[in-house]
């Protein structure tokens, strides 16, 4: 049977036929040594990868929704983000979380110009664009244009605060609760909170 259907180049990720990079070789060498010396096992490594993959923005959304419905929790979250996130079942390890609040007059957006620091324990792995040089270099210089490209056009009455995650802190944006959702339950509200709204490149919209 002839191979008669057509694949566009977009259907495939290219095969990784290129030689390993220096750091890929280094990773494999160190991993194999650690296993050989009994420091860790392949099972433990897979379990850790599963743990990282299992993190998702859902936990962050629950934290935001609780802050919208519980003013005392919101205060604790702004004062000590890590302790308040742990109250909601997050496992922070050594992550020091700073929560920044959007208001009628302030919009916050997170970037890491030096690398790709991101609150993984709260909202999972970062999207690929967060790690690009374009996002990292442009967000500190022309944030309004970058946000516009995400579909978020901010009025002049709103000040933009960019947070460059340069050292030990990790950041989560506490978006403003959308109008028209007063009286909603925390569960309903959590459904409105997207990953991008917790990075600050979007705002939650009422369903």
């Amino acid at each position: 049977m002839p191979h008669d259907h057509h694949h566009s180049p977009r259907d495939f990720r290219p095969d990784n036929d290129t030689p390993l990079t220096y750091w890929q070789q280094m990773e494999i060498a160190v991993r194999e040594l650690l296993i050989e010396k009994g420091v860790t096992t392949p099972g433990e490594i897979t379990a850790q990868i599963d743990k990282m993959d299992a993190r998702s923005p859902a936990l962050g959304a629950e934290i935001v929704a609780r802050a919208w419905t519980d003013p005392e929790y919101k205060q604790r979250l702004l004062e000590n983000g890590s302790a308040a996130a742990e109250e909601m079942g997050a496992i922070l390890d050594a992550v020091k979380l700073v929560v920044v609040e959007n208001t009628e007059s302030v919009h916050n957006v997170i970037v890491c110009t030096l690398c790709s620091c991101y609150p993984r324990n709260i909202i999972g792995l970062p999207p690929d664009w967060y790690k690009t040089r374009a996002y990292r270099s442009r967000t500190v210089k022309e944030p309004r244009k970058v946000l516009g490209e995400f579909g978020l056009d901010l009025p002049d009455s709103v000040q933009v605060r960019v947070h460059d995650s340069t050292a030990d802190m990790r950041y989560l944006v506490l978006p403003a609760q959308p109008e028209g959702t007063e009286g909603w339950s925390a569960e309903q509200l959590a459904g409105l909170v997207t990953r991008d709204s917790m990075i600050g490149v979007a705002v939650p919209k009422p369903a």
Binding site: L78, E79, N80, S82, A83, K96, V98, T113, L114, V140, K141, E142, P143, R144, K145, D156, Q159, V160, R161, V162, H163, D164, S165, T166, A167, D168, M169
Partner: protein, 113 residues
Amino acid sequence: MSLPDVKPPTFPPPYPAGAPRFLPGAVVQVKKGPAPGHIRTPWYLRGKTGRIERICGAFGNPEELAYGRPGGTMPLYRVRFTMEEVWGDGTERSDDTIDAEIFEHWLEAANAT
């Protein structure tokens, strides 16, 4: 010089801060120039003047930790800068701000004028 408004936090740092030299609201200048090694002070902020937004706590100095030296801890601050201060004229909006974490040894006291 263009300085941002800073409303100091109403709560203490959640992590031990040692004996920080600067308080929220203080005007500080980031030291200029190049430095070798694993630096967490972005180039685009070197020489720029801003205000301490908050004291984060005291943390290990990355310039020591990166080379396996114990180093010890040092106060870490969030410093707020205006877009105008960082990028000059022609920014999208001069009073939009950038907050970044800067370790104490990179900061010098500056005047608000």
